[in-house]
């Protein structure tokens, strides 16, 4: 609204007011606030108020039932001092690699390859690759829990090809449980990245390719001079979405491992649930939730900033 007004020539917006004929179309008017009011009320009630309330609760030691005691920032200090919580944030960092970095890199390579070769049935592949995004995460988790089961399809395949040594209870293995959960994230996010990048690539004019090829560029040069810069915005969007998905990951862990084995796959969002509903430490749960919210906010802003700064 404001940008529309600002882009208008000044002369065009001012005189009508003086002439008393009312405002020019597009000029900001107070009544505009009335239009955003319904959405604003919903936002305040269901987003802002709970957020402030959670921040409030995070300053108390509260079991959810008996009166709370004020503890100031003790719950936040605990996030730094508690080895279990630090580990949970560490696991989230590992998941960012599986959810965001890995899918974006692989999707970029795949898309770059596709630009060089015309692929038949692209629409079909696009649909199939995007399917994991459409399926509810709970269903994905149940399916993968079966795939990873000690006698599940993955181990059956490994044994069938003679790799018995590799077969294991993937989700019950202290080393492999976190990568196994992370790989499910890769599987889910890959399709999103590919579809986003394919859409971005289709906007690149063909003659740009012809130009670099005339200059004698190979596929690598072509990728770095044309494809990558052209996809800057898409990469930023993909990273933002996938990083958020990695950090707020709760459903997948809850449905597959419940943070186990031991605490090998506990993540911050699962800790929020565990502390609030199982252990009865609502204050600490709120502190973790607020910290997680801030972290997601900062990372998202960071990604957008980097993408904008590299704008040519």
């Amino acid at each position: 609204m404001t940008t529309a007004a600002a882009s208008r020539p000044v002369a065009a917006t001012r005189p009508p007011r003086e002439s008393g004929k009312g405002r020019a179309p597009g000029e900001p008017r107070r009544v505009a606030y009335l239009y955003i009011l319904p959405a604003y009320v919903v936002f305040v009630l269901f987003m802002l108020v709970p957020l402030v309330r959670a921040a409030n609760i995070s300053l108390f030691d509260w079991n959810g039932l008996t009166p709370a005691t004020w503890v100031g920032f003790e719950n936040y200090q605990e996030i730094v001092s508690d080895a279990g919580l630090r580990a949970a944030f560490g696991h989230a960092a590992v998941l960012i690699f599986f959810y965001a970095v890995f899918p974006v890199v692989v999707a970029l390579l795949l898309v770059a390859t596709m630009t060089r070769a015309r692929l038949r049935g692209l629409g079909f592949y696009r649909t199939v690759l995007f399917l994991p995004q459409v399926i509810a995460m709970v269903v994905v988790a149940v399916a993968w829990r079966n795939i990873y089961a000690p006698d599940g399809p993955l181990n059956q395949v490994l044994r069938a090809v003679g790799l018995d040594g590799l077969a294991r209870a993937w989700l019950g293995d202290f080393t492999w449980a976190l990568p196994a959960v992370g790989f499910v994230g890769t599987w889910v996010q890959m399709g999103l990245c590919i579809v986003l990048f394919l859409a971005g690539v289709s906007k690149i004019p063909r003659d740009l390719y012809d130009a670099v090829r005339l200059d004698g560029a190979g596929p690598v040069r072509e990728f770095f001079t044309i494809v990558l810069p052209a996809l800057r915005n898409e990469i930023s969007v993909a990273l933002t979405l996938t990083v958020i998905a990695a950090l707020r990951n709760f459903d997948l862990v809850y449905m597959t491992t419940r943070g186990g084995p031991g605490t090998a796959t506990s993540v911050p969002a699962f800790e929020v649930y565990r502390r609030a509903f199982q252990v009865g430490d609502v204050g600490s749960a709120a502190a973790v939730a607020v910290t997680l919210t801030l972290l997601i906010f900062l990372i998202t802003v960071g990604i957008t900033r980097v993408a904008e700064r590299s704008e040519p």
């Binding site: 300053l59 000690p150 209870a169 031991g262």
Partner: protein, 450 residues
């Protein structure tokens, strides 16, 4: 969440509220801990119109039928009392009950899970009524043995668990024992073991025959507590187990006997008695496999009885984890979730009448008919299957030996998390027995000592 929202709507001028707002949990209207029931010797007459809101988690097949039939019969017998039933799965009930109880519109009767994290916390917050007067009026004290009442007894401040006032009454019993497949034992030429030594020998013989001796699915972490308990009960004196389980002073996780228990279960893993990859195996899937004839002994609770009877019929047997030669019978057991009366109940007398009805001899008979395990009077029931008869006999035996011990995760409000994860680590060899026991001891002693 409802509570938080409610509060938020009231105080819409939110931003300054961050620090100055009233502390969470302080409602102003302090719920009285409700010790005001008139000490009458006879149950009160209910002559007004009453609506009882009941939250339960009896949603599985037979359990649901029991409650539906009993509710209908109760309302027929007491036409002025209406029951509004809200049934949820166990997990949903756990997560929603605290908010529901602390809200303004709390239910009258709820099923509160045994132990400090849920029921103990409710008692501490003054949200449940002590039932001692009703217990005297209705004769519950005589009908329910000490070991059953202990699992729902707390001091009014919630600090002591296992004794004090009665806060709940359970309809069904629970016992962790050993299911066995009779046909499988015959096939392997094995007898039903009578001692722990025989049991381990039979398990090893089963392995040599290429069977899974002790199928075990521990991906969800809690089944490990039951299997560990079965081994611990063979090694540690009963009194010590009770101290450690109820979280009362006098126990020691680092004792020699506990060390022997931790080392024994590790040696069982090393001997391959459990299926490979049990930490990544699903509990229900493993139980279903056992029902299909894969596995010889399944260490599990009586809640699997209806499903396993359905799968194996008369091939299914149930026994207490056999004691060592010359030792008494000890088994982990308790009741199903006790029904409790909330402090917010508008007519506690009507709620008590309902509790009495749910646990009446007729109700126990109905529970048995549906293939389940009644919390009392199991011995006098007509059983529906061989395995059910085994369960009832096992219960008689173990209570005669005064050998029912609590679940290990009841000890402290956070002990479930500690021990569930620690057992997975112990069994995977990530944690040595002494470090495992030290971790448990640290939490236990800081709770008991503090």
């Amino acid at each position: 969440m409802a509570r938080i929202l409610h509060r938020a709507v009231v105080g819409l001028g939110v931003v300054g509220l961050l620090v100055t707002a009233c502390a969470p949990g302080d409602d102003g209207d302090d719920a009285d801990s409700g010790a005001e029931t008139p000490p009458a010797s006879e149950p009160a007459e209910i002559d007004e119109e009453v609506t009882l809101i009941v939250w339960d988690q009896e949603v599985r097949g037979g359990q649901n039928e029991v409650i539906e039939e009993l509710n209908a019969a109760f309302m027929e017998e007491n036409p002025n009392i209406t029951i509004e039933r809200v049934s949820r799965s166990f997990e949903d009930l756990q997560t929603t009950l605290p908010l529901a109880l602390s809200g303004d519109d709390a239910p009258d009767v709820v099923q509160a899970n045994n132990g400090r994290p849920i029921m103990g916390a409710f008692v501490e917050a003054g949200l449940l009524l002590p039932l001692d007067d009703y217990a005297a009026q209705y004769g519950w004290t005589e009908r329910f043995p000490d070991s059953v009442r202990a699992t729902a007894s707390y001091s009014p401040d919630g600090v002591t668990f296992g004794e004090g006032s009665l806060y709940g009454l359970a309809q069904q019993g629970e016992l962790v024992g050993v299911y066995y497949n009779r046909a499988k034992l015959d096939e392997l030429g094995l007898e039903v073991p009578e001692t722990w030594e025989d049991f381990l020998a039979a398990a090893e013989a089963a392995i040599e025959a290429g069977e899974v001796a002790l199928p075990f699915g521990n991906i969800d972490q809690w089944p490990g507590i039951h299997v560990y308990g079965a081994v611990m009960n063979r090694n540690v004196p009963t009194e010590d187990i009770r101290h450690l389980g109820f979280g009362t002073a006098g126990g020691d996780w680092t004792s020699e006997e506990n060390m022997a228990a931790a080392e024994e279960i590790v040696s069982m893993v090393d001997a391959g008695l459990f299926n490979e990859g049990f930490n990544g195996a699903d509990y229900d899937a493993v139980a279903a496999e056992f029902g299909e004839g894969n596995g010889v002994f399944l260490i599990a609770g009586t809640w699997l009885l209806p499903d396993l009877v359905g799968a194996l019929g008369d091939d299914l047997g149930f026994m207490l984890p056999p004691p060592r030669e010359g030792q008494p019978n000890v088994a982990t057991g308790a009741t199903s979730l006790p029904f409790a009366i909330t402090s917010a109940a508008e007519n506690p007398d009507a709620a008590a009448l309902y509790l009495d009805f749910l646990t009446s001899p007729e109700a126990m008979q109905l529970v048995t008919e549906k293939g389940l395990f009644p919390s009392v009077e199991a011995g006098s029931q007509q059983t529906q299957s061989q395995a059910q008869a085994d369960v009832f006999a096992a219960w008689e035996t173990v209570t005669a030996d005064d050998g029912v011990v609590p679940y290990l995760d009841w000890a402290t409000p956070t002990f479930y998390d500690t021990i569930a994860a620690a057992i997975q680590e112990l069994l995977a060899g990530e944690l040595e027995p002494d470090a495992f026991l030290q971790r448990l001891q640290d939490e236990y002693s800081s709770f008991v000592g503090g």
